[in-house]
């Protein structure tokens, strides 16, 4: 390794280096290359990053900018993602003599949007832009890995997923689960992604809901869960089907959060009172949680006052490391919502309402207590303490937004991606042309 330094010291130094430097230093010697790419070192580097900072340093933000007609993945500061002085930094002050001119110029800049001015964000290079353009869905992210799905309406019977580490610019396609459903049953996939620390593995779980053909007489579309579910693990590089699981909880939407080793979806119980058509009115709102280590489902209670409430659109979230619930009611001019947190994880009595937002829905939270809110298709930053709202000037469709905390890592560096890509030859032409 080196005449001067023993190996343990080299490793100590490496574990304190940023990801970009480590990738470059793989070119120093063959030994360094194998060391940096080794599973043990990747894990050591990750553990050091996780333990050294209290909060994740970044927010990963995805949006489709309709002015620039461009798909963006960016890293923003987790404390202050859209700084107030962003635009003024790019004003060439020599030519701005009067305050009036300055304001006019700033107004023009804001029309172009936040991302037209290169500062305060780092653009990530997403490898399969043309492939994923139409129906990109971000399942979740963990330890620097982002899990994405190509939600093609054309082929509802299978799913194409991608694991991507933007900090090392590496991605792998997952093989298809291979479990298909009849198109007439309109299968809906609900996914969750997370890290299993016990087995040191990354897992993607897929729940499938099928349209209930026998319940055509009820008001809304009725779905029932398939009793099998599929789980993919990075270590095996393959999907597994877990059969015979009977889940009495129906997840309401695919959106999930990963926290404390479990994936959480908002859902409701299937109450069978003998009267199949009235099943909905008897069901309770609950949170469906999937323990990624045990690979087992559990039920978590929502706040008592929200248990029987069915007219709100509810979503799980994570605020300051706590599980949060955001019930939202849509209305003509933005709608309103409230933010609840479970102060002690797993203890239903500790659900506490923190604040209300009377002009929009919550998209996410920054590390310094601000809320990212969507209001009538626009993004706003809301400070619940001062009740001030700021406009970050992002021009995009709210359906395209994805926010999560992010930290850089070397995960995926030692995974060979050749095999996975060759399993889906029909998509080759799509992504090689980007």
């Amino acid at each position: 390794m080196s005449d001067y330094f023993p190996d343990e010291i080299i490793v100590e130094i490496f574990s304190r280096l940023p990801v970009k430097s480590l990738i470059r230093f793989r070119c120093v010697t063959k030994t360094w290359c194998s060391l940096i790419s080794s599973h043990d070192f990747i894990k050591m580097h990750l553990n050091r990053s996780l333990s050294s900072t209290k909060n994740p340093p970044f927010l990963i933000f995805r949006h489709y900018d309709d002015k620039m007609e461009k798909e963006w993945f960016t890293l923003l500061s987790s404390n202050d993602p859209f700084p107030q002085n962003h635009f003024s930094k790019h004003l060439d002050c020599k030519w701005v003599f009067r305050e009036q001119n300055r304001l006019v110029l700033e107004k023009q800049m804001k029309k172009k949007g936040f991302f037209a001015y290169p500062s305060d964000f780092k653009e990530l290079h997403f490898p399969y832009r043309s492939f994923m353009k139409q129906n990109l869905y971000v399942v979740g992210s963990s330890n620097g890995l982002v899990c994405l799905l190509n939600d093609t309406p054309g082929d509802e019977t299978d799913l194409v997923a991608l694991l991507w580490n933007p900090s090392i610019r590496k991605s792998i396609f997952l093989p298809c689960p291979g479990v298909k459903f009849y198109p007439s049953l309109h299968p809906m996939h609900y996914l969750g992604f997370g890290y299993d620390p016990i087995n040191d593995d990354y897992k993607l779980v897929r729940l499938v809901y099928l349209y209930d053909l026998f319940d055509q007489y009820s008001d809304g579309k009725k779905y029932f869960p398939v009793s099998d579910f599929q789980i993919y693990t990075l270590r095996t590089g393959a999907w597994r089907t877990i059969t015979g699981h009977s889940c009495q909880i129906i997840a309401d939407q695919s959106f999930s959060v990963f926290l404390n080793g479990s994936i959480h979806w908002f859902g409701h119980t299937r109450e069978h009172n003998g009267d199949f058509h009235n099943a909905n009115s008897a069901s309770r709102n609950v949170i469906l949680s999937f323990d990624i280590g045990d690979e087992d489902f559990h039920e978590m209670a929502v706040p008592k006052s929200l248990e029987e409430v069915h007219r709100f659109n509810m979503k799980v979230a994570v605020l300051d490391g706590l599980l949060a619930l955001v019930p939202y009611r849509d209305q003509a001019f933005g709608g309103f919502c409230s933010v609840w947190v479970m102060k002690e994880y797993g203890v239903a009595e500790t659900w506490t309402k923190l604040f209300n937002i009377n002009f929009g829905n919550v998209l996410g939270f920054t590390m310094n207590g601000e809320v990212l809110v969507t209001k009538s298709g626009k993004l706003r930053i809301y400070d619940p303490n001062s009740q001030r709202t700021l406009n970050p000037h992002i021009h995009a469709q709210p359906e395209s937004f994805y926010f999560d905390t992010y930290m850089e890592s070397l995960v995926l560096l030692n995974v060979e991606d050749g095999v996975e890509e060759s399993l889906i030859p029909q998509f080759e032409s799509l992504f090689y042309g980007h």
Partner: protein, 126 residues
């Protein structure tokens, strides 16, 4: 605990790596740490000073001494200092710093560098 190890270190005559100079730098560290723990800026300045006054080979000896003495805070400090010093440097600089030579097959290194060309952007000039 720390005093015993230090005494043992000096008593151990087989250990030629410790010089008085190193002893005066490594050992006062815990006091320095305690005094300036709260002030990050001062630590940065101390770090810069240390880098200026100490050649890589000396730094090596400091690290080895701290490692032998099982002196965790000093080891952490020195490793962090080295990491900060080299993080934005080129492959050649790092080779010189650690006294290494490339052992790649011809063309292998080029291939690797090309594949990860983005990691070479914005690197300090040598």
């Amino acid at each position: 605990m720390k005093f015993c190890t230090v005494k043992q270190y000096f008593d151990d005559e087989n250990n030629n790596n410790v010089t008085n100079g190193i002893a005066t730098t490594v050992i006062p560290l815990p006091n320095k740490h305690l005094k300036i723990k709260a002030n990050n800026k001062e630590m940065e300045q101390y770090e810069q000073e240390l880098l200026r006054n100490v050649m890589p080979q000396e730094l090596t000896k400091l690290i080895l001494a701290a490692n032998y003495l099982n002196f965790k805070e000093a080891l952490d400090f020195f490793c962090r200092t080295v990491a900060n010093a080299i993080q934005n440097k080129s492959v050649d600089y790092v080779r010189k710093f650690f006294g290494l030579e490339s052992d790649f097959e011809p063309g292998e290194e080029e291939k690797l560098c090309k594949e990860f060309a983005w990691s070479f952007e914005g690197v300090d000039e040598d």
